[in-house]
């Protein structure tokens, strides 16, 4: 996985096709992920510095490999 510089704003992303609403992400990264009433993750727009570690744990824990972290792209 590509390393992102510590200062660059990053966000947690979900591939909604892969996601099956298992919900581990909301348990591991509750500050940045909530579940909707059907059990699918609603993710905040950008991760605060203190939330990145928990988000990385959520990425690793997802049984469907549906999560990833990427730099916030302001080009489009």
């Amino acid at each position: 996985m590509r390393q992102t510089a510590a200062h660059a704003p990053v966000r947690l992303r979900v591939d909604p096709l892969a996601c099956e609403g298992i919900g581990l992400c909301a348990q591991l990264a509750g500050d940045s992920v909530e579940l909707d009433r059907w059990g699918y993750p609603v993710i905040e727009a950008q991760l605060a510095a203190g939330e990145v570690g928990a988000a990385r744990r959520a990425v690793r824990a997802c049984p469907r490999r549906a999560l990833w972290i990427e730099e916030v792209d302001n080009r489009r």
Partner: protein, 445 residues
Amino acid sequence: MNDDTLLMPVVAGRSPASFAGRAPGLLLADTRLRRSGPADPVGTFLTEDLAEHGARFGPRPRGTTDLLDVVDQAGLTGHGGAHVPAALKWRSVLRGQGPLTVIANGAESEPVAGKDGTLLRQRPHLVLDGLEILAESLGAHRAVLWLHGDDEGARRSVERALAERYGVGHEHAARGFQEAMRRAQTVRIEIVSGPSHYLSGEASAIVRALAGGPALPTVRRRSTDPLAARSLVHNVETLARLAIVARGIMAPATRLLTVLATSVHEGRAVVEVPLTTTFASLLEGLGESPPQAVLLGGYGGRWALWQTVADLPVDEAALRRAGTGLGAGVVAPLATGACGVRQTAAVLAYLSSMSARQCGPCVFGLPALAAGMEDLAAGTGGRAVVGTLLADAAVIEGRGACHHPDGATGLVSSAVEVFRVDVEAHLAGRACQHSRRVVLPGLAQ
């Protein structure tokens, strides 16, 4: 040559004088279609062959990367609905080096939309010019014209045009053209017909299908591999405009619109009007009475009260400044006497049925929106139904792989606002003042 004669509106009720003196545009003439389905004209079928096209526009210029600046300066935006600047897509593609597929998207999915199908029937060579220019400019390895499987009329028109260009049965007429193509090492255009599903016109679905997958939307994780396969999808009207600006001609300051008749006994009109045309003059020109409301952008669009948009121009930039938009140019007025809540419930049921059933927010969210609006229309929902509808719409927004659920959420929030009086009447359990009939086409009653 006087082009005005070609632009005589053929739509009844619209006087030729109303838009007289305008510059040559994209369409040969305004046309009339049935209420929904492929854009086969009711009445005269007009099409421009290669010789007429050449006489009108002159030879097609060769596409180079220098065109990026021209596209940028012309302010060319995507006419498939999103109005993303074309230059943005070009730059994104130019950052990679992998094999590139360029795609002309002629699959109009909105049941009422018919302007792309009309353009492909009337001016196939202008669209093909645009696709070839795009392929040359960006160095594409593959150029595809993508259609809905049920749009046989568009397919016939483009097949005939390609036969002319590639010299099949037209060896003499196309000889110069073929030589120019060979010199420019232009890739040959393939026509690919996808399924006729609502979502098979969605850009990521097309790319997925052309790579051998199903024609369903997908999410692409940003690739770090510079040699990853690239693709660029432009709407066919966008490419027709590219073919004009690439010749150094100003793109016509017009907009192609599909306007649904309020009467269920009449069809659609596909018209080309100046950007300054207001909705009031558009409907007046088509012989329509002022409606109560209008659905802008089609079934994935938004309702607007007639008095709030009547004096606005059809120019997308102006509409966006006013907080609305016309997407792919679909205008569906709702006559006084029809129930907006009932129409919205029927449209939501349709959108829900057209989900690709891939993403949780769409799989569960769209049926919830459709059921809530149906409860409201039937007067069986209780007072909480509106709050639940708006809360669900807000939570679903932006969370699908594609924007299909966002069309439904915009429809819900705009309907609750625009049809406030009807909503109150339904909530109070009073019989709806309006007819319960579904007047929008292609929907279950």
